[in-house]
Amino acid sequence: MRCFLSHWAALLVVLAWAVPNGASAQQRPAVPDSARLSQRRHRLADVRVHAVGPERFAVGSTRLELDSAVLAQYRGGNLADVLQARTPLALKYYGPGQLATIALRGTSAQHTAVLWNGLNIMLPTLGQNDFALLPVGAATSVSIQPGPAAALYGSGAVGGAVLLNTGPNWRPGLRGSLQADAGSFGLAGGSLDARAATAAVAVRVAASYREAQNNYTYLLREARGPVRYTLQNAALRHQWSIGPEVAWRVGLAGEVTAAAWLTDVDREIQSGVNVAGSQARERDQSRRLTLGYRHVAARQQWAVRGAWFEDIINYRDGGTPSNSRVRTTQAQAEHTRALGAHGSLRLGAEAQHFAALVDGYGTTQVAENRAAAFALLRYDPRPTLRLSANLRQAALPAGLAPLTPTLGLEWDLLGNADSLARATSHSLTAKASAARSYRAPTLNERYWVPGGNPDLRPESGLGYEAGLRHRLALSRAAALETELTAYRQDVDDWVQWLPSASNGIWSPRNLRQVRSQGLEISTALGLRQGRYRSSTQLAYHFTDTRKTQGTAADSDPVGVQLAFVPRHQASLSTDQHWRDWLLSSTLALTSFRYTNASGTDFLPGTGLLGATLGRTVRGPAGTSLLVLVQATNLLNLAYESYPGRPAPPRTFSASLRVGWR
């Protein structure tokens, strides 16, 4: 109890520190994009060839969006960097450029689906994503959809989903920017984002390069006293990403899109500072191609899409290679139509084929097919009451996955959430959703030699959440949006690898039930006065996640907070613009995290402060020059991001961006 109170006290202290930023509030409301809570106006095809996205069927859920202004600040970095700085989400992180996985709402790395333009890009072998392999600049929008409503995205969306979208800009003309970065510990990189459009064709190319030595020093406590060493074998040798895409309008209602995303990362694998002489290296390459067509009419739309992915992970340590290559071919088709004046229905199906050539599976190629069908219904009986009901059924090689229904509700109790334009407004919306979800067994879980278990059942989740969303326009110059969500998420048949008692072979089995419950609070304040505007976001997550039940073979204790899930996390970020200046600051607070299942060893809590200072200089003919200086871990806190992995000390980087339009 004492502990709980002191966390609140900690939060209040931070609040008190943050509030003076927003003292002088007048004039027009400026809602920060990154905090804007999804506005759900019910309309089909309000813009020409503007399709209805799947989020329209996720009524009653929270959605955290990182807008383009925030993404632009981090465009040289990876998704793990931006999420750690800007959100109170838990990531298990082995160091800069090293493996980074997410634990959304206390679930495991395999319980967050990652989608690129609506296609699941989780590695089929591991069933998870390394967020260090996803450069920020590749996407034009990043949103995180925690909770059960994400179940509509299919396998793996138990804790939620991360949605990466790209899209061409249809504004005619040529625009773009070219950026060069340099920073501490051998950081160097560059990126390009170029777009062009005519009335019929729009093109975008995003490309980036990054390398870093990560040769910072750290103190190791040895018997003779603390000794300072330089981190070895931790370099990011190169990280390439290139994503060209083209959209072509066909007739009045059709659009063909083709997109590719190629990433190539060569990195040294930091094995922990107590492991001597490791020379582990990994090459991660992903090639993702997609081609789609959609037809959007006034009362209906349909879309078909095909995709081909190739994911390569080649690991080697001291001459020992372990190679893996998986090719995924998939097709999706969906039809959406309006139901009367208040509803819409989407019916769709998808199929995936995996072909895996993985050293760990033996010498032969392993193939697997999966398919799913879904029906998504959105119905708004009144403008102030919005409902959704979805159903998804997947077929897996070992049989049918659990049928996963999703229900959602939003009800405007006060004011109208849509009336953003009103000078003084006050709105309150109640929201709730519930869903079943599932995770298909990964290829490693089914085919690894030895131990792969083809009889593994899919994990199944059951989640509920409810909350309130409040929006207050204090005056024409200030707007405050607050959202409060409470949730509970149960996962049954949770898979765990355990050694056999008779021969010690590790094998995955459906062993346990895990319950995660928590509270998420976020508030965002937007201010605007003259040539000054600012946005401030404060968020706090309380996450309680424990094994509630297990089979006799599962010896991990019941009732202990799962490893690497902090119970308390808070983040505060401010972005202040004045004339051509930008000043941003971020603060991420994390309470201690257990590092083993017994709940005895832990990493202590951390507080990480970051800041960005920028100045834009306007040039002739629509050109501009932006100078950005960024600092992370400003307090120079010495901490481990994972046991045996010292995190970087205070680091600086500088970027120069030339833009044109």
């Binding site: 202290v13 406590r221 809590g605």
Partner: protein, 354 residues
Amino acid sequence: MKKQFAPLVAALALLAACSPKTEETPAPAPTTAVFVLSEGEFTKGDGAVSVFDRASKSLTLDAFGSANGNAKLGDVVQSMGVQGSRGYIVVNASNKVEVVNLPDFKSVATISGLTQPRYFTSTSATRGYVTEWRGTYTGYTPGVLSILDLSTNTVTSRVPVGRNPEQLLALGGKIYVPNALDNTVSVIDEATGTLTSTITVGDGPSSMVADKDNNIWVLCTGFVSYIATPPYVVQTSAGTLVRFNPSSPATQLKIAFPATSSPGKLRIGTDKDQLYYSFGGAEYRMSIAATALPTTPFIRRSFSGFAIDPRDNTVYGGISPSYNTNGRFVRYQATGVALDSFTVKVGPNGFVFY
């Protein structure tokens, strides 16, 4: 500037205050101590030696850290040897041997310049031996026996042996090194520090003991290969228990195990007339006079570490439920009846009685 950060520091302090307290236990009393070796989780650097005091039943979880200002012992604590009042802790992934004073575990020195060290033994206060592997898991090459000068804690010379040399044995002026990825035992002469002969035994010799008649027993695990379906592993050659007299090593008693599982962890009782080994998820006991394997287990349990306390014949078994859960050890009477159990760090794999 400083003032600006004050609330932040206060908030941090409040958060930090909530970290759970590390357990504190009193220092062990000498002569009734049992050192319990826990490997720790690979790459986390959290291997430890716990000190269990059998008189008070108290436990110091991380004796090295407690005695040395919370210094980390290292990654994968593999084994430990004792010479006089010195302990030699072999830390495999950290490529070192930590030398500590006993019983207080104060650091004396660190022996570096080793690669994949496995087991330690010594024949005097100045002479020690460490087996080391070479190569990696898909391509192991012949390993070495490093000869140590324990007065300077340095490696003085290296003797090439077979692949994956394991639990060595010093007997009668010779060092016997079982090469676990071959079918041989390398014999090194103590006086000259050179390889004198190589004895062929069964496939996979990994642990050895000497009995009261000065016969050497070598437990060979046999070789396995892995398959895609349960039980996922097949013996490509069966395990064997081999006995020979050092004076005529070619004359051997060989007892074959059923080709259903790999035997391991050969130990010998206090009177040096009872052998102990693990097989098929259970622990067996066998007289040195026997010519066939026992069919009934001594303890029906799979242990990650096993030893018998020569002071009172208490049996110690280590339990490792998973890679990221604390392990424990169970104590048994000499008859195999369980006494009690205690929680230690991840992966208890061995016991040293001091």
